[in-house]
Symmetry: C2
Subunit: 363 residues, 2 copies
């Protein structure tokens, strides 16, 4: 399969749903990928199984507060630089690239890198969604190391990190990103084909394209096909509402915040809230949890089903909030320890969204 | 000349005077160098002129808040690691090492590295004293770059930085050092012999040894030979006094503070103060400047002439404060721009200490 303009439009849109509020603005991401494909031609999308066991694959991504990226557009060289510097440090030819997470920007950057360098892109990622921190990848669960990782900013600064753990990589890189102005491009978790096959979440790009296509059809038909979308992604409608308040804080290189949402239509009279750290973490009705990380909490525009990133949440916007079960790899002990609600400081046990929905809300 | 136990004792003591309050505690530094020399034998001290023009020389140093080093002792591997990683990144055999600055710790680390790796040490540095920031070296004045630089901590984390300017190297490295726990070992400003000859300040280790020897003789004779010491180092006695107050703040990876000192003996009735950022920056009598960066402001114990680092300043300690003219390289336009009082936020012009002394104090 080739990724050209049409597929890029679809992936950017679909991935921004799987980005659960994070992963960057799909418009910014799309422009970077479209420009690269226009200049260098379409990119080959290959299957995880097509990567030879001993081949080197290297993801490319943006790290930082998504709000910053909207104002501080990459110059386009820094992600190539981050990618190439890591390849050169490893001293091995890079076979292909792939996204570290699904998101409006982070699904697009590897496409731009692949187009620029004439590499194929592998149809997989390390999250099956977006998460805010570097150790929150399935590769971490399988003992793979983030290091050596490279950071590069748009000014021309670059750094090669060799951290003793993936959490140390996160801590050191996060500080650098803040100093670099709030965001930087990274190359991280270089893997062999064998390691990729063991730990990657499959088909995320083709899946994003399908979701994006469906949203576009919804928008073209001008009919409310949100139900159809929810069925397609095996999700659950959590509620419909109107945003009444947004609290935001961009600190330590993250966007933190809470969106307060008053129910409308069938949810009229109810009060909901969503807490986020780059990505949506917890959806609540009053004090009762409707869904939590690592399950996906996605906010869609009520009329157009367009996914809304946390930085685009605005007072008065009418939204449908849906929950989607996360990949099974996250529903392990180490998975929950790495990305469960307690990691983010919430004193609650993780309960799968499908159980919360079946059994009614739980405290 | 060989550096063995005796010379190390002398250099540690003398360099802590030239460290002007910074550069690290000479006791901690000495232990690292003594241990290395005991295990691997004495180190060859060579002249700048003995370094071939095309040879690679790489300094090794500690970066961070000196107060931290007193409690968080290096494990001894991290400075070897920082040094070797830079050599390996540059892909060239390292001919010799040398200190980046004069100071109780930073004159010692290159001796320990040299002993461990069987390299000679060059009798020079990049400051002729100690300064708090990475761009504050004579190499910077001659257009040399701090990058690539390596940082390594005692836990095993390491980083290779490629910054677009020496100030960016300082900013990025400082953030990393804070995250690493307040101090890290660095290798920085790798130079060719030709570059070293152009920009280095000569003979700092042999000069430190002479100063150290003189202080030891003072202490052994139990006579006040501070005058003799001041003559030797071509300095000026600024005042004698008793410390009455210390304000300290360890922030952004630096030790900031002010020492208030009441005059004693010939200075009885006068009030003095010294402001520092790792190193002593400004000495004042009331609002009048007696000496400022880049000239050296050294605080010595009144009885023993032992140099006192800023972290060892204590209420009640009786001290002699001396000023020493800095190296001529600092007294240029770029030198004053880089390390003059205005860089550190003081709204005063730099006036050489010998003029301030001659002409009386200036506002």
């Amino acid at each position: 399969m080739k990724l050209s303009e049409k597929e890029i439009e679809q992936i950017a849109l679909g991935a921004s749903l799987l980005g659960t509020g994070g992963g960057g603005d799909p418009h910014v991401g799309k422009l970077m990928a479209l420009q690269a494909v226009k200049k260098h031609g379409p990119v080959d999308l290959i299957k995880v199984e097509d990567v030879p066991d001993d081949a080197l694959v290297v993801p490319a991504a943006m790290m930082g507060a998504p709000t910053v990226l909207v104002e501080k557009i990459p110059n386009g060289n820094e992600f190539i630089k981050a990618f190439e510097e890591l390849g050169s440090f490893l001293g091995k030819k890079v076979f292909a690239t792939f996204p570290i997470e699904a998101g409006g920007v982070n699904s697009m950057i590897p496409i731009a890198v692949a187009a620029n360098l004439g590499l194929p892109i592998v149809d997989c990622d390390g999250m099956g969604r977006a998460f805010p921190e570097l150790q929150m990848v399935t590769f971490h669960l399988f003992g793979e190391t983030a290091s050596p990782m490279v950071l590069a900013d748009e000014k021309g600064n670059s750094v090669i990190l060799n951290a003793i753990s993936n959490k140390w990589a996160e801590n050191l890189a996060r500080n650098l990103v803040v100093e670099m102005g709030g965001e930087a491009m990274i190359s991280i978790y270089s893997l062999t084909g064998k390691q990729l096959k063991r730990a990657a979440i499959r088909n995320i790009l083709s899946y994003s394209a399908e979701i994006g296509k469906l949203i576009m059809e919804t928008q073209a038909s001008k009919k409310d096909t949100t139900e159809q979308l929810i069925n397609k992604i095996k999700g659950f409608k959590l509620f419909k509402g109107k945003i009444t308040d947004i609290l935001r804080k961009t600190t330590s290189g993250f966007n933190f915040g809470t969106a307060k949402i008053d129910g409308i239509e069938e949810n009229k009279g109810d009060h909901f809230s969503i807490e986020f750290q780059n990505e949506n973490l917890i959806a609540k009705k009053d004090d009762c949890v409707l869904a939590s990380v690592p399950d996906l909490i996605c906010i869609l525009d009520l009329e157009t089903a367009t996914p809304i990133t946390t930085e685009a949440l605005k007072y008065g916007r009418r939204v449908t909030v849906i929950g989607i079960p996360c990949d099974e790899k996250w529903r392990t002990e180490k998975g929950i320890e790495t990305v469960g609600p307690r990691y983010f400081g919430y004193d609650i046990d993780y309960v799968p969204v499908e159980k919360l929905i079946e059994g009614g809300v739980s405290k």
